[in-house]
């Protein structure tokens, strides 16, 4: 039963995506809506990304210092470990798990409300491909802006660690900065960005799917919003494993 339901839902998701990825009726309207979504989903997430990254970067540095301290470990290992954690996991997987809560619930509740208030029916009756009109700008806008958020996250996390080094005596600033630069592997940055793009697609498409097929009233909209966040979080973790295996081995 669960398997057949899952297959049916996946089939519905594929058909939904086919409608989403069709050519927009009006390119000018589509581009305008995409810019609005870049602002709403991407730019509006910057404060959250900065605050979280700053603190996580600081915490990572402190944790590394407390756990990695050993006579055989060089002091710069703290900066190096912080950098790799941020590049490999935090700036993509963890950041996207956090954004799944903010952006995913926003999308699911917005589209779900449009469904229950018949706004989507109104679009359909006008002859507009509602899935394409509403969802494609969200997917494209957020996926395009995700690398910016990811890079911003990396930079801010490093600043967080730097401030720890600067204002505490846990690690000398020079050692921390040296650690950030030591044994740098450029591919880790690309790996993080590739993952973040895929996770951004998962967040927007899964949340849109849950919102689009809401039936009922306000209660169901809330439920679909929660389900969207849970489902996109699970898919992010699942794809994290798959992508890590594919891209790092």
């Amino acid at each position: 039963m669960i398997i057949s339901n899952s297959i049916a839902t996946f089939g519905r998701f594929c058909m939904f995506m086919r409608r989403v990825f069709s050519i927009p009726d009006r390119m000018s309207i589509f581009l305008r809506r995409t810019l609005v979504e870049v602002s709403k989903l991407g730019v509006d997430s910057i404060p959250l990304v900065i605050v979280i990254s700053m603190f996580i970067g600081a915490v990572c540095t402190i944790q590394m210092q407390l756990n990695v301290t050993s006579p055989i470990m060089p002091a710069y290992a703290v900066g190096l470990a912080t950098r790799d954690i941020v590049l490999l996991e935090f700036s993509n997987s963890i950041l996207c798990l956090i954004l799944a809560g903010k952006v995913g619930s926003n999308i699911a509740s917005e589209i779900g409300t449009m469904r229950v208030t018949e706004q989507i029916d109104a679009l359909e009756i006008m002859g507009v491909n509602s899935a394409n009109h509403l969802v494609l700008p969200k997917i494209l806008g957020f996926v395009c802006f995700m690398p910016v958020l990811s890079i911003m996250c990396i930079g801010t996390a490093f600043v967080g660690g730097y401030l720890v080094a600067l204002f505490t005596d846990l690690i000398p600033v020079s050692r921390y900065v040296y650690g950030l630069q030591a044994m740098f592997i450029e591919w880790y940055v690309w790996y993080g960005l590739i993952k973040s793009l895929i996770f951004a697609f998962i967040i927007t498409s899964v949340a849109s799917f849950f919102g689009y097929y809401v039936k009922g009233g306000a209660l169901e909209v809330g439920r679909s919003s929660t389900n969207a966040v849970v489902a996109s979080s699970i898919f992010i973790l699942l794809f994290d494993v798959i992508l890590t295996k594919l891209l790092l081995q």
Binding site: I29, E118, Q119, D121, V128
Partner: protein, 266 residues
């Protein structure tokens, strides 16, 4: 003209529409009436293609909706305007933005032309001055009028209205009814209204289709309702004490119903 022939629709094995046939005439206000759960919303949704009936035909001036390709349905929908029960205005757009939306999607008008057309439609529904407000900032009656303006922006051939008076006070309801009736006659539109409101039935019902338990039970106009022999229709229309008294008065005094002097307005 829209013709419906032998439409049948079921949900989970329960038949909601049993071979319903009806004709909705051009230039007239066609009303679908019936109790809650009688199937009138299903009929309306089938007419606009939101639901797919199992059998039958829906002919829009001879073109069968149920045998159309996706592209043909897409084209047909540009000829359809719809007023939803909850207005279904786009929250993120202003009143003007809502009315301009279909114009921006389906015409090659310049922005100025779209604005002029939208302002004309808003003026037609007596909403000049509200164009920069958002739907949440205006009353339910005003929202309905914006929805009507949006529905007529593209000069539709067919106008569908799902419970246009729900949630409105009697005075505003009458305003909306008169507006729909005027627009229907002015632009020669085939208007189909799904309603519970007996004021609408007796005020603008030029062609009334009564649906009961999924069957089309009665067809006629508002003047014929007072003298109908159909018990289910009579029970439904004259359920309230006020309408029962009107009916009794009409019967007792042989009041004409043609809007003649001294008679009840048609």
């Amino acid at each position: 003209m829209i013709e419906v022939r032998n439409i049948t629709k079921s949900f989970d094995g329960r038949t909601v529409l049993h071979g319903v046939s009806a004709t909705f005439e051009t230039g007239k206000t066609n009303l679908i009436i019936g109790q809650s759960g009688s199937g009138k919303t299903v009929l309306m949704k089938s007419l606009v293609g939101l639901l797919q009936p199992e059998s039958g035909e829906i002919l829009f001036d001879g073109r069968n909706l149920l045998s159309m390709s996706r592209a043909e349905i897409h084209e047909l929908r540009k000829e359809i305007g719809m007023l939803f029960q909850g207005s279904a205005l786009f929250d993120s757009e202003t009143v003007l933005g809502n009315v301009m939306f279909p114009l921006s999607m389906f015409t090659d008008m310049t922005r100025r032309q779209m604005r002029d057309r939208a302002m004309f439609c808003l003026e037609r529904v007596n909403l000049k001055g509200a164009e920069n407000k958002y739907p949440a900032e205006i009353s339910g009656g005003m929202q309905k009028r914006v929805a009507i303006a949006r529905a007529i922006a593209l000069n539709p051939k067919y106008l569908f209205c799902d419970e246009p008076n729900s949630g409105l006070d009697p005075k505003t309801s009458i305003l909306i009814d008169e507006l729909l009736s005027d627009i229907t006659h002015e632009y020669n539109i085939t208007t189909v209204i799904n309603t519970h409101d007996m004021n609408s039935v007796l005020g603008i019902g030029e062609n009334i289709i009564f649906i009961n338990k999924g069957h089309r039970e009665w067809v006629g106009d508002m003047s014929q309702i007072y003298t109908t022999a159909n018990e289910a229709l009579s029970d439904f229309v004259f359920a309230t004490r006020l309408f029962q008294q009107v009916k009794d008065y009409v019967a007792a005094n042989a009041v004409p119903l043609n809007g003649d002097k001294g008679g009840l307005p048609k």
